[in-house]
């Protein structure tokens, strides 16, 4: 870490060293007041000094805040329950399926939303009962479907082949299975993810509802749709609510089913800067209240009459992923080297790259130093440690000079990194969680050689690098 002692006391009257720099003024680039504030740095995470964390757990290091996770979920639920009486939340495993993260949410009442056999098994292994699991996704092999049906999990059907398979299993086990169908449609504000579920406009979805109504084995009780991710225009959700309610009406009128749940999927944007979006997150990302307003107002309007006829209001389900987890996690990385590129730009090499920070492919994450930097900020490229040209953490950021050994905090990184990170070239680092009261625990340990070779098998004649005679 940086020296803790007072430099003046250490070196008499010597001034602290500032790496000399010269920067040419280019038209359109000369507004140093237009960029990052030079006085911004971050010394701790939830009051635990970053130096201490790195000393104890190494670098790079993921740091999760438990209270932030809980707070975020509370805020989301408050926004919705204040506007609609019956709200259920399911934690989307793929966003971050570290056990400690999942269980924090489960303790707050979250169900599990899973999309594969692995995720299903993980939720069960953590102790989530089958009836509190929503099972989405286009690939649910027979074995896991059999288990899910036996354990009364909520299956969200993606396509007709799956529908037939569920019907077959149900017949074999003599069960009547409550199912949800996933819908897709044009909201007018998002690109339709038409590859998932049944299309509303073409009539596919109502055909599926008919098909289920005619089955002895199946009961249609839920509608689901996940319209996209990082949806910045909350009006898309208003449109989704209207379209799904209209479909609910049509399906109930035509097929006689009774819909109990309306699942809106995920997709709320987090406070991260998407590449290619000009304005910063605080200016473009709607609040939970704005999303809630967009969904609940048309939802109440559309179901008002239905509830007047004595039908209970459908349960509103949310599978919000990134917006509740992203800003609860940071990545600490260490500067390995400073360089000049042939074109004159400055760059630093950090020990975390796209292998640990997969989301660097689409976000301009916030990067803060952990001490006050002295000197003129300059356009800088931050590269990761990989011997690969694509390993770029930030392609351009204004930073004052850094020293090798300096640490940087990258945030927010809670969504889709601990699940999409790559075991590529480097070991994956430690992940710690800071609990209330500044207590820190290791929630996933850094990989070692064993973690990777444990799954390999060397055929006998390849067990040595030397050819046997």
């Amino acid at each position: 870490m940086t020296d803790q002692s007072d430099p003046e006391a250490q070196a008499g009257k010597l001034k602290p060293w500032i790496k000399p720099s010269i920067v040419m003024h280019r038209s359109g680039l000369v507004n140093k007041f237009g960029a990052v504030r030079r006085d911004r740095w971050q010394t701790d995470i939830e009051e635990v000094p970053i130096g201490e964390l790195v000393h104890d757990f190494g670098s790079p290091l993921f740091v999760i805040s438990e209270s932030k996770l809980r707070d975020n979920l509370h805020r989301l639920m408050r926004a919705f329950t204040a506007r609609y009486p019956s709200v259920r939340y399911a934690w989307s495993y793929k966003t971050n399926y570290l056990g400690a993260v999942c269980n924090t949410f489960h303790q707050e009442g979250a169900w599990a939303e899973v999309v594969s056999a692995f995720e299903y098994e993980k939720a069960r292994a953590l102790g989530v009962p089958g009836e509190q699991i929503l099972f989405n996704g286009p690939h649910k092999p027979r074995a896991i479907l059999e288990r899910a049906i036996k354990e009364d999990a909520h299956i969200h059907i993606d396509h007709l082949d799956e529908l037939y398979l569920i019907e077959t299993i149900a017949k074999e086990t003599g069960k009547v299975v409550d199912v949800t169908i996933r819908l897709n449609f044009e909201t007018g504000y998002t690109e339709n993810w038409g590859r998932f579920g049944f299309n509303v406009e073409s009539g596919q979805a109502i055909d599926a509802a008919w098909r289920i109504a005619r089955s002895e084995q199946l009961r249609l009780t839920g509608l689901h749709s996940h319209i996209g991710t990082f949806v910045l225009d909350q009006r898309a959700y208003g449109a989704q609510a209207r379209i799904m309610c209209a479909f609910l009406q049509e399906a109930e009128d035509k097929t006689g089913c009774e819909i109990e749940t309306l699942d809106f999927g995920g997709g709320f944007a987090s406070h991260n800067a998407l590449q290619g979006i000009y304005l910063p997150p605080e200016q473009v990302v709607p609040s939970f209240d704005q999303y809630a307003e967009a969904i609940c107002t048309p939802l109440i309007e559309a179901t008002y009459e239905r509830s007047a006829r004595g039908r209970p209001l459908p349960i509103l389900i949310l599978e919000t992923g990134r917006a509740v987890v992203d800003d609860a996690e940071s990545l600490v990385t260490t500067v390995v080297a400073n360089k000049r590129l042939p074109d004159g730009r400055r760059c630093v090499v950090a020990d975390a790259g796209v292998n640990t920070l997969f989301t660097a492919f689409w976000y301009n994450h916030q990067v803060l130093p952990t001490r006050e930097l002295i000197g003129t900020p300059e356009e800088t490229v931050i590269y990761g440690p990989l011997c690969m040209n694509i390993d770029v953490v930030r392609s351009s950021i204004l930073l004052a000079p850094l020293k090798a050994g300096d640490t940087l905090v990258i945030s927010p990184v809670g969504a889709y990194n601990n699940t999409q990170w790559l075991q590529f070239i480097e070991y994956r680092p430690n992940v710690v969680m800071v609990h209330p009261g500044k207590e820190v625990s290791l929630v996933r340990s850094a990989e070692k050689l064993d973690s990777i070779t444990a799954h390999e098998h060397l055929p006998k004649h390849l067990s040595s690098p030397v050819k046997s005679k």
Partner: protein, 364 residues
């Protein structure tokens, strides 16, 4: 935001990017302020680039300051305004660029706390002018609006005929940019280019032939439109920006704008853009939540709208005014301003140009 009563005496005006080919409105606003009969205070020009011409023009701006780009976030913006307030004692701000309005309206209360007053639209009024709500706006104005649709997939351009969309029509970005397309291939290409830059949805809009006419005025926030000036472009640059225009008296444009202001209770400056088509329909194209770059025409036509804005900021009731007389022409030209190297240095190194103090000793 029940505005505190202020008597603006040190006004900051943004948008000093008075580029010859596509000027921001700030410098013209400053010029109107200079000539306003009810204002003799200081004018502080705010811009984003050290070469923004308005920063360097003492005739209109007593001092010039750089601002952080709206993209650097609320904190950086507020901090810079606070510094400018401390140094220049600014007491009010007139934002002149579209991209500033969202951040300014969101931070209006904080600015006010800081002692910086504004008179601008509310966030809800700003949202109304989002391009995909044109129909709603036109409803308020009692005009037509070009048929507009949000498109999220390039596939639309290949079967749009079935939905009643026939080439040519216009493909527009949600914030900026527009291209007339004549075929499915062109449409899909424009869709990809524009969505890559400005995101989804992309809008398609009926291609209208006709004459664009504009109106600028100030809404008092209670439904009244004040001091309208109407203009028809006489000549445009290759970017489609007017460099000459003439004031007109078009009753339908006036009535439509007044209805809009009444229905939305518009607060602050606005510009209304309308297309008068060959067959006599009036189509609402857009409203901008600020003064236009041609605002000096208002002073030229004897309806200096900055005087009106100042009266509203002071809680005075502006007198009833006849619409501006027709037939006043403005002709924009470029002029080379001489800038001392020291001023340029100061803007680069400190982000400001401040007046050079009078030397105490005039002798050698």
């Amino acid at each position: 935001m029940s505005a505190i009563m202020v008597a603006p005496n040190r006004i900051a005006v943004t948008g000093m990017n008075a580029r010859p080919d596509n000027p921001g409105p700030g410098l013209a606003v400053a010029r109107c302020l200079r000539e306003a009969k009810n204002y003799s205070g200081k004018i502080i020009g705010l811009g984003y680039e050290s070469l923004d011409p308005g920063l360097h023009l003492p005739a209109y701006c007593d001092a010039g300051y750089l601002l952080p780009y709206p993209s650097s976030g609320d904190d950086a913006f507020l901090e810079r305004i606070e510094l400018i307030r401390e140094r220049e004692q600014i007491d009010s701000m007139i934002p002149c660029l579209d991209a500033e309005l969202p951040i300014m309206t969101r931070l209006a209360a904080e600015l006010e706390k800081m002692g910086v007053a504004t008179f601008m639209p509310t966030s809800a009024q700003l949202e109304l002018r989002s391009k995909d709500r044109l129909d709603e706006l036109a409803g308020h104005a009692g005009t037509d609006a070009p048929k507009t649709k949000s498109v999220t997939e390039a596939g639309f351009f290949f079967n749009c005929g079935q939905q009643g969309w026939h080439y040519p029509f216009v493909v527009k970005g949600i914030f900026y940019d527009a291209e007339v397309v004549k075929s499915a291939e062109q449409g899909a290409a424009a869709f990809r280019r524009i969505s890559a830059q400005w995101g989804l949805p992309v809008l398609v809009q009926e291609f209208l032939e006709g004459e664009e006419i504009n109106l600028t005025a100030v809404g008092d926030g209670k439904g009244k439109m004040l001091g309208a000036v109407m203009m028809k472009k006489l000549a445009v640059t290759d970017k489609g920006k007017a460099w000459a225009g003439i004031s007109i008296a078009d009753e339908r444009l006036f009535d439509a704008s007044a209805a809009l202001v009444a229905a939305t209770q518009w607060k602050g400056p606005l510009e209304v853009e309308v297309m008068r088509t060959a067959d006599g329909t009036y189509q609402l194209i857009e409203i901008n939540p600020r003064f236009p770059a041609w605002i000096y025409l208002s002073a030229g036509a004897g309806r200096n709208l900055l005087e009106v804005l100042l009266q509203l900021m002071r809680n005075e009731t502006p007198p009833e005014m006849e619409p501006a007389p027709a037939g006043v022409i403005y002709l924009r030209y470029a002029e080379d301003n001489i800038v001392p190297l020291a001023d340029y240095e100061s803007v680069i190194m400190h982000g400001w140009r401040v007046p050079v103090p009078e030397p105490e000793n005039h002798k050698q």
